[in-house]
């Protein structure tokens, strides 16, 4: 790897600098979309179908129109002339993928409980909410589909025009020679065959969605504030769908309170506010309610996974077969069809696999809230399946699960490693991460203690669970995305500008919503340019200020956006070097740049600080012939590869076999995300990710009844764990720099989530293995654990 301008002697990168964002957030000074004070704005409220599957016979808004404060009310049919087309799905994974027309308000049929059927504009949110109760809708309800296999049967077809609930089947079959997978299973010394259920999760970002559309009085310009992760992508789609030329459309994502993928979408309310602001020539705003969010913002996960492993007598994997059913919900959201594909490449985890892989995913429509990318998007699901299966294989072989993993790790010396999929893994040292985690948790000691504790009749049983994982991130090389039929590229833009007084502006196309980009990008620029991070300002999330960008998701911002900033800094330094050489009458090659100053090698008295160069570039009095004034560099960086963070998580639990209660005693996470820009932020990302993965394992799950009603739409019922419920998390790190970018960084946004769920469930199953338990449904609620024990014990607890 190269770290030309940052190593050795880094002074900023790698430090635990406090976040620049936090004072405003902690004092309430930060402005979120709902904080924008706009006199005269109309408030939007959306009437949502209480039925999961119903024909809309008629909608009567006449009474609502008479209600106090109401300015307008519309049905889905009323608004159809406003739309330039249906809401977008940008990832048509196959040529024959079925995609039902999906409009901001349903017309003809409501396909899930929460589907918008009418809306009101009023002077206040209260008036709008009250008026919703006066809208009369005549529905004819139909049989409902909430089970994925039932959906596949087409017993009830949700979208009549498609004739089926199947959206697509996407296959990835890789064989060295024809029939290799079948042959490997036939010849295997050991095989496993497991079914795992990835329950539906509600992303539950701290800030619900919020939208404010402000038409400019003259010139046809529209400014859209939205609590979104994707201001740039949103600008394009809202412009097209609402008939606003792109150059007149400005999207601003002010402070945004979390997303986890749930704000990586083009939503009905963004289109409704924009179109109605245009129509009424006044600002229109909407702020989501929490229980509304549970129904109308995307859900995540929601897959049935059938996975089979074949292994030789030593436990070395010889083939993997995967069959998925993906639950798209009622419609296809922005990138939903691609989510299983992001996992498809990771079902062999961090293990060597011959060219013997057979993956197929079929995705279906159901009468539930649409799904889409949720923290990890396909990769936590894949990791869960392989890591649970590795434990099943170890159990079958009667060997320690850590030992089985060690036998299968891709060895360090084979990196960069070309995997069975053709993808090249950049760098890794799985044994180092696993050994470190095992040492930190006292793995051998735990196994000894477990043998003592888990005797017949013991009511508190100890369990140890492992997961070793890859996070395919840094989305993504644009050509790879093209090969997957994704509708956009994966590059990122950056501009670095040295202002006349040597203050730095960094313009980025990333769109932070809690990650701390202002801090991290300042640190990168400060390190490269030799300035104080306080003298760097990061401009982002406003398409008028940062017109190019592909936004923030998929752990892409640092390995793509952050690297783009480093490259732009290099461009600035190159130009500055020419100016400094010219001014000092030295050869460019003789100048070295460190600590923000150019020095002539061998002439310690000849030096020129960047501040001097910046001023000289500004005055332009004495620049080399032909050089343009000012010190600025703009770049668009398309990464040559994904990045491949990895790690080992080990969870220790005690299970109360009488009550099914699981107590997490210890959680060790060793993550390797390459070079760390700010270890404090890395720790925070891992903490949050682990808790989110643990939440899937133990707490969360959207529950629907057979009529398609979401039974737990509030945070009293949907169990997002609180600080009081989270065990101490012990962090360790190994650092294996990525060789594909100059910073050596890999990204860390999803790592914790990917590693945690399988570690926790493996631990629970390990604790209960002596009782014959082989699997526990997620979330492993006390009732579910008790059921698993009962089932294993033949009905007697």
């Amino acid at each position: 790897m190269t770290m030309t301008d940052t190593a050795p002697g880094r002074t900023v990168l790698g430090t635990r600098m406090l976040r620049k964002e936090d004072p405003a957030l902690l004092t309430g000074e930060a402005k979120f979309t709902a904080d924008m004070h706009v006199p005269g704005a109309l408030h939007l409220a959306v009437l949502r179908s209480p039925y999961a599957h119903a024909t809309i016979n008629s909608v009567d808004v006449s009474e609502a129109l008479k209600a106090p404060g109401v300015k307008a009310a519309y049905t889905g049919a009323d608004l159809m002339p406003l739309w330039g087309g249906p809401m977008p799905c940008a990832w048509p994974v196959t040529a024959d993928m079925k995609n039902p027309a999906h409009y901001p308000l349903a017309v003809g049929k409501a396909a899930f409980a929460g589907d918008g059927v009418a809306c009101v504009l009023a002077d206040s949110a209260n008036f709008a909410q009250d008026a919703l109760e006066l809208i009369k809708v005549d529905y004819t309800s139909h049989a409902v589909v909430t089970d994925l296999e039932d959906a596949l049967s087409d017993r009830v077809v949700i979208h009549d025009e498609l004739g089926t609930n199947k959206s697509y089947t996407w296959d990835l079959k890789i064989e060295g020679e024809p029939g290799q997978v079948d042959a490997a299973f036939a010849a295997a010394a050991f095989t496993t065959k497991e079914r795992f259920i990835q329950q539906r999760l509600i992303p539950a970002a701290m800030e619900p969605r919020a939208v404010l559309a402000m038409p400019q009085p003259f010139g046809g310009e529209m400014t859209l504030y939205s609590a979104t992760q994707i201001p740039h992508i949103l600008k394009i789609f809202v412009g097209i769908l609402c008939g606003i030329p792109e150059h007149k459309m400005r999207v601003i994502a002010p402070s945004v309170g979390g997303g986890f993928g749930s704000k990586l979408n083009v939503y009905a309310e963004e289109l409704l506010c924009t179109a109605l602001a245009l129509k009424h020539k006044v600002p229109v705003r909407w702020t989501e309610e929490r229980s509304e969010a549970a129904m109308s913002t995307i859900h995540g996960r929601a897959q049935i996974q059938d996975i089979e492993l074949a292994a030789d007598a030593d436990g070395k994997l010889t083939a993997i077969r995967v069959r998925l059913i993906g639950d798209m919900g009622a419609y296809l959201q922005l990138v939903a069809p691609g989510v299983p594909l992001l996992g498809a490449f990771l079902y062999a985890g961090v293990y060597e696999l011959p060219l013997a892989y057979d993956f197929s995913c079929t995705s279906v429509f159901t009468n539930m809230t649409p799904t889409d990318a949720y923290r990890g998007a396909g990769r936590p699901e894949a990791t869960y399946a392989i890591e649970r299966s590795m434990d099943a294989l170890a159990s079958k072989m009667g060997i320690d699960p850590l030992e089985l993993r060690r036998r299968n790790f891709i060895p360090k010396q084979k990196y960069p490693y070309t995997a069975f999929t053709g993808l090249v893994y950049d760098s890794g040292d799985h044994d180092a991460a696993a050994s470190k985690a095992a040492e930190m948790v006292d793995y051998a000691g735990l196994r000894a203690r477990q043998a003592e504790q888990n005797v017949a009749g013991a009511t508190k049983r100890l369990g140890v669970g492992l997961s070793t994982y890859f996070e395919m991130c840094g989305l993504a090389p644009s050509r790879v995305l093209a090969s997957l039929n994704y509708g956009a590229g994966g590059w990122e833009a950056a501009t670095v500008r040295v202002l006349p007084t040597n203050r730095i502006q960094v313009v980025t196309g990333t769109a932070p919503h809690g990650q701390g980009h202002e801090t991290a990008w300042s640190m990168i620029a400060a390190e490269k340019l030799g300035v104080d991070p306080a003298d760097v300002d990061v401009l982002h999330s406003d398409t008028a200020i940062a017109p190019y960008g592909l936004d923030t998701y998929g752990s892409r911002s640092l390995p793509v956006g952050g690297v783009a900033i480093a490259i732009a800094c290099d461009g600035v330094i190159d130009k500055a070097r020419k100016i400094a050489a010219h001014q000092m009458e030295a050869n460019e090659e003789d100048l070295e740049f460190s600590g923000g100053t150019f020095r002539v090698k061998g002439s310690p008295d000849k030096e020129m600080p960047l501040a001097g160069v910046a001023w000289a570039a500004f005055t332009a009095h004495n620049l080399p012939d032909g050089m343009e004034p000012n010190l600025e560099h703009h770049t668009h960086y398309d990464p040559p590869n994904f990045s491949w963070p990895f790690g080992t998580h080990i969870c220790v639990v005690e299970v109360d076999t009488e009550t099914g209660q699981v107590e997490v005693l210890k959680y060790v996470a060793v993550d390797d995300c390459g070079v760390q820009v700010n270890p404090m932020i890395v720790d925070g990302q891992v903490h949050g990710g682990v808790v989110q993965g643990m939440a899937q394992a133990l707490y969360e799950g959207a529950v629907y009844d057979s009529d398609g009603n979401l039974k737990n739409p509030t945070l009293a019922e949907y169990l997002v764990p609180s600080a009081a419920d989270v065990p101490p998390i012990t962090l360790g790190h190994t650092v294996t720099p990525s060789p594909t970018n100059q910073l050596g960084v890999k990204g860390v946004g999803e790592a914790g989530t990917i590693g945690a769920a399988p570690a926790v469930i493996n631990a629970i199953v390990d604790a209960l293995s002596g009782l014959g338990v082989r699997d526990v449904l997620m979330p492993a609620s006390p009732n579910n654990v008790w059921n698993a024990i009962n089932a294993a014990q033949g009905g007697n607890s």
Partner: protein, 274 residues
């Protein structure tokens, strides 16, 4: 999160509050700490037309030694019950149970009277005061009356308070050094119990009440009868659900809830007998 429109009046005294409720009729509700009523209103599951705020009736916030019992003003915050030295000495079970209500924010706002008057079978303090044989004092337009806790809970969120009555005081007999246990089983610290047990025991005397095992808090009289007759803890606990009518919800099936009640009663009796 936007409740239906309502009027708001603030009462300066219990008498004024009762007069205001009488004036506004059945659509009026008392508002104490607001931690039960306001969430229902935000979901529009409750739509009272008038709220009579009794939150500033300061003379109903007290904990007093009244000889054989402790008298607690209805507007005493959970936090004050949790940290009272008097209760720690004479009613440690009650103080401990109060420390399990919701989270610190809830305990600083919610009141013991509000919790009891709301009559939620899943709340901690109705069952705990029931186990302790408490008496509740209600004040109405015609004066006050005492209601035994065992007569108070009529059905889901329904008490024997008349529409114009206000709960003013909770009288709890001193525990006289009895052993006790409070078992709250839940998934998150802040949640209502999936099943809870409040129990005390002094030799053959005991009181056991169950949280969230029916439409009201349940007094497990069969368990106490078994203890009185000298049954083993194991055998007494087997009677845990004799009076219960458990329902299924997202956290527990009827079978699981029944099983859990027996396990938790056994554990509670074991701890209270130690």
């Amino acid at each position: 999160v936007i409740p239906a429109a309502f009027d708001y009046v603030r009462a300066g005294s219990a008498e004024e509050a009762i007069a205001l409720i009488g004036e506004h009729g059945e659509e009026a509700k008392f508002l104490a700490g607001g931690h039960s009523l306001l969430p229902l209103m935000k979901l529009r599951l409750a739509q009272p037309s008038v709220l009579v705020d009794i939150g500033r009736v300061s003379d109903l916030s007290y904990i007093r030694d009244a000889g054989d019992h402790v008298a607690i003003g209805a507007l005493t915050r959970h936090r004050d019950v949790e940290t009272s030295d008097l209760l720690a000495q004479h009613l440690p079970l009650l103080a401990h149970a109060a420390s399990h209500v919701g989270d610190p924010q809830v305990r600083h706002r919610g009141t013991i009277g509000g919790s009891i008057a709301h009559a939620d079978p899943a709340s901690d303090l109705p069952a705990t005061t029931l186990a302790l044989g408490a008496t509740y004092v209600a004040q109405g337009p015609n004066g006050t009356r005492e209601i035994a806790a065992s007569d108070f809970y009529q059905g889901f969120l329904t008490s024997s308070l008349d529409a114009e009555e206000m709960l003013t005081e909770i009288r709890v007999p001193k525990m006289q050094g009895a052993g006790w246990s409070f078992q709250k089983f839940n998934r998150r610290a802040q949640d209502w119990a999936i099943v809870g047990v409040a129990a005390w025991r002094r030799n053959g005397d005991s009181g056991v009440a169950l949280v969230n095992m029916g439409s009201t808090p349940i007094l497990a009289t069969s368990v106490s009868a078994a203890i009185a007759s000298g049954a083993s803890i194991e055998d007494a606990a087997a009677q845990a659900v004799a009076e219960a009518e458990p329902q299924a919800d997202l956290n527990a099936s009827v079978e699981y809830r029944t099983h859990l009640a027996k396990v938790l009663v056994r554990r509670a009796l074991t701890e209270a007998s130690a």
